[in-house]
């Protein structure tokens, strides 16, 4: 039996990406700990108070990466016949995964407790928050990582709404539990234990026929495309059913009954511009995005009413235009999830009678359109609309628009950088790039608030230029890869 745990441990240790992240987490913790102690001894107290945020942010960023990766790793263990046919497999894998997670939390706890009390005044709050976010992200990676864009966006909105309700300010996701009502900690603790227990129980019995099993399959691309087609099929049926309902026909029968017709792929608009052609490749997704637009139209009045009726959440939107996490990371993650599923059709599209170079250019355009749409949606929903309701004067400020422009251009730069990384094949180089990207984003997050107008504009221009260079290089590499 001991041998099983030894082999599973080796399985984790041999998974290089996880190990590189662990090494960075450990080195980063040790380094930042030393720096914070040095700062504590050398600099005035106000610097130390500022350092609290960095401590939480550091753990948060690496914690989320680590746990997402752990979730992807778990997917591989359970979406396979081995989970059912190898003796003693499930229990050993579930225990090992949660042991790794517990070790991660223990390391975080040890790190937090070694820091001066003034740097992290509430280490247990940070730890609870990490545990909660960790479990939620673990479940997220396993269950929701490959859902359709509508569901991911819905869940993102829901998550941010819940976050805003329990955190009280724009960066409050880092301070969950600190400063809220006293009942928060027990509620968070229960949430962690219940989520973890349910998740473990489900993994112990998960079979091929269960609802979420197909969504665990990340490979081969055929399976991934099949899953997306399944989700799309359901939405198509609902759409058909709504059309029929509007014409007075039976609604439920159409949703749950047999599908009457499939989606139709329109002809390739060969003689039209690059935007029209790029939309052709995304016609299914563009069509399904319509659901989202309808949702925004329906939800926005409710959302504005909610803002008016709940003054305590106003603080969440104070300075939200500077919130890099919300306006940069969230649209990028959404656009990445949105585009990842398209890789399933990539090979098939390459065989169509269109020049490969054109396909690559059109796909690149579609990618950028997707990013801009998502960023615009987040900016509109979380920055512009709340400002109209709460503080219309803000809209007349040049700084507001300069900040928004910077988040947009930085989102473009970051996304293009990620795009460029997709051309690389050495895992460690990719991880190193991601860490550099995370570091730069962190610097922007904390620095942008203090930038004067001209620096904001210059940074925006620089980000746009960097984004263009990354994007062009990435597209050219894709082109070369396909040709050779």
């Amino acid at each position: 039996m001991t041998n099983i745990y030894r082999q599973i441990t080796l399985l984790y240790l041999r998974y290089k990406t996880l190990m590189v992240l662990t090494a960075f987490l450990a080195l980063g913790a040790a380094g930042s700990s030393a720096l914070l102690w040095f700062g504590y001894l050398r600099f005035p107290r106000c610097v130390i108070v500022e350092a609290r945020e960095e401590a939480g942010m550091f753990l948060w960023i690496f914690g989320v990466w680590f746990v997402m990766l752990l979730g992807v790793f778990l997917k591989r263990q359970f979406a396979t016949h081995r989970a059912h046919l190898l003796p003693r497999y499930r229990a050993a894998h579930v225990c090992a995964a949660f042991l790794v997670f517990a070790l991660f939390l223990s390391a975080a706890a040890a790190w937090l407790l070694t820091l001066p009390a003034e740097v992290v005044a509430t280490p247990w709050h940070v730890l609870w928050q990490l545990a909660l976010l960790g479990v939620l992200f673990l479940v997220f990676a396993v269950y929701l990582g490959y859902l359709s864009v509508e569901l991911i966006l819905l869940l993102a909105f829901l998550g941010i709404s819940v976050g805003s309700a329990i955190s009280w300010d724009a960066f409050g996701l880092l301070r969950v539990g600190a400063g809220g009502p006293p009942a928060q900690l027990p509620v968070l603790a229960s949430l962690i234990f219940v989520s973890a227990a349910l998740f473990m129980a489900r993994l112990m019995t998960l079979r091929e026929e269960h609802f979420e099993y197909p969504y665990l399959l990340t490979w081969p691309p055929k399976e991934l495309a099949k899953n997306q087609a399944r989700v799309y099929g359901l939405l198509l049926r609902v759409e058909q059913a709504i059309d029929l309902l509007l014409r007075g026909e039976v609604f439920l029968e159409k949703v749950f009954g047999k599908r009457t017709c499939g989606p139709r792929y329109p002809a390739y608009p060969r003689h039209r511009g690059v935007v029209a052609r790029s939309l052709h490749w995304d016609c299914f997704e563009s069509r399904s995005l319509r659901h989202l637009q309808v949702l925004v139209l329906v939800a926005t009045p409710l959302y504005l009413w909610y803002l008016k009726a709940n003054p305590q959440v106003h603080i969440f939107f104070t300075g939200v235009h500077e919130n890099f996490f919300l306006l940069v990371a969230a649209p990028i993650l959404t656009a990445l999830c949105f585009n990842y599923k398209k890789m399933g059709y990539w090979q098939r599209d390459m065989m169509k009678p269109v020049r490969r170079r054109d396909i690559v250019r059109e796909r690149g355009t579609a990618l950028l359109i997707a990013l801009f749409s998502f960023w615009a949606l987040f900016a509109l929903y979380f920055a512009v609309l709340p400002s109209i309701v709460i503080d219309p004067a803000l809209l007349r400020s040049a700084m507001f628009w300069a900040h928004l422009a910077l988040t947009g251009s930085y989102a473009f730069a970051a996304f293009s950088w990620i795009l460029f990384l997709s051309c690389l094949s050495v895992t460690n180089v990719i991880v190193l790039n991601f860490i550099a990207l995370a570091g730069l984003s962190l610097a922007q997050t904390y620095g942008a608030g203090a930038f004067p107008l001209n620096v904001l504009i210059a940074t925006s221009v620089l980000s746009l230029a960097a984004g263009a260079v990354f994007c062009k290089t990435a597209l050219m590499r894709w082109y070369e890869k396909e040709i050779t």
Binding site: N3, I4, R6, Q7, I8, L10, L11, R14, Y15, K16, R76, T80, H81, R82, H84, L85, L86, P87, R88, Y89, A92, R207, E208, E209, W219, P220, K258
Partner: protein, 291 residues
């Protein structure tokens, strides 16, 4: 004789489409049992039901006397399975993957796996992710054999193997059966392979078993009759046992099931015909049964 696999009245469908319909099958212990069927006949679904990977809507299954949906750990120790495609843990080497898989079992024959790795030309230090499809399948077969199971289930095991590797695979199957008591259940499209190793076959057609039994009995039972006589018509040949009939100017060709010498005698007398009885190979029998 005990039975390794018993199914009774198995029903399994996906949405509105019935895949297995009241399927009953018995696989005796110690047999090499081949499952034949056209694409979409339900072979993989049947195998997945037998292994408890999916649950049938109706019917009973016993595999080594246990319920597959809820296999005991002891039963899992006695079963080996190779799916159609599987690429486990691409970051491990073949050796590491073997050690990892071996750790779950109380008994593992390292000598056997080492020998097969060598015989099948696999390098233990190669990364699984860098192996070709055929090499990965060879490795999967070795992983299924390492714990010397009593029941081996292969789902299209040789589809991705080259002819030499297929031969090696069949040789290994024969060695396993001759060395120790073991039941082998496998689905395949390559009937010549099945003919070489299987002693029993089942033919799956539209979710039902069209034939299940010993291969020799099947070959004795199904024959092609070449009838040479003037004026024979298609409607002259009717009956339950006729699988296929064709009539030309002076010749009729019948494929019959349940052939006996009496049939030959009766046709010769009725049509004053010259009649040749031809044996069919398994591929021809399969085509006739699934026509």
């Amino acid at each position: 004789m005990n039975n390794a696999i018993v199914t009774e009245g198995l029903d399994k469908g996906f949405r509105d489409k019935g895949v297995l319909k009241e399927l009953s099958l018995v696989v005796p212990q110690g047999s090499v049992f081949g499952l034949l069927g056209r694409n979409g006949a339900g072979k993989t679904t049947l195998i997945k039901c037998l292994l408890g990977l999916i649950r049938p809507q109706a019917g009973k299954i016993a595999v080594l006397g246990d319920d597959p949906w809820d296999f005991l750990e002891e039963t899992k120790e006695r079963i080996g399975y190779v799916p159609q495609t599987d690429r486990p843990y691409p970051w491990l080497t073949a050796r590491q993957l073997i050690d990892y898989t071996a750790s779950f079992y109380r008994h593992w024959n390292h000598e056997l796996t080492d020998r097969l790795m060598k015989e099948w030309g696999l390098n233990a230090e190669d990364k699984v992710g860098l192996l070709s499809e055929g090499e990965t399948q060879k490795l999967n077969i070795i992983l299924a054999l390492g714990h010397e199971p009593e029941l081996l289930v292969f789902d299209e095991p040789v589809a991705s193997l080259d002819p030499a590797s297929r031969r090696q695979f069949l040789k290994t199957v024969l060695e396993i059966v001759s060395d120790r008591p073991c039941t082998i259940f496998f689905s395949t499209h390559i009937t010549s392979d099945l003919e070489r190793v299987a002693d029993r076959v089942a033919v799956l057609k539209d979710g039902r078993i069209a034939f299940a039994g010993e291969l020799d009995v099947l070959k004795e039972e199904i024959k092609r009759l070449r009838i040479r006589a003037a004026g024979v018509r298609l409607e002259d040949f009717k009956g339950e046992g006729i699988l296929h009939r064709e009539v030309f100017a002076h010749e009729a060709i019948l494929c019959v099931r349940g052939y006996t010498p009496d049939i030959k005698k009766a046709i010769e007398e009725k049509f004053r015909a010259q009649l040749d009885v031809e044996d069919l190979n398994l591929e021809e029998i399969f085509l006739e049964l699934t026509r």
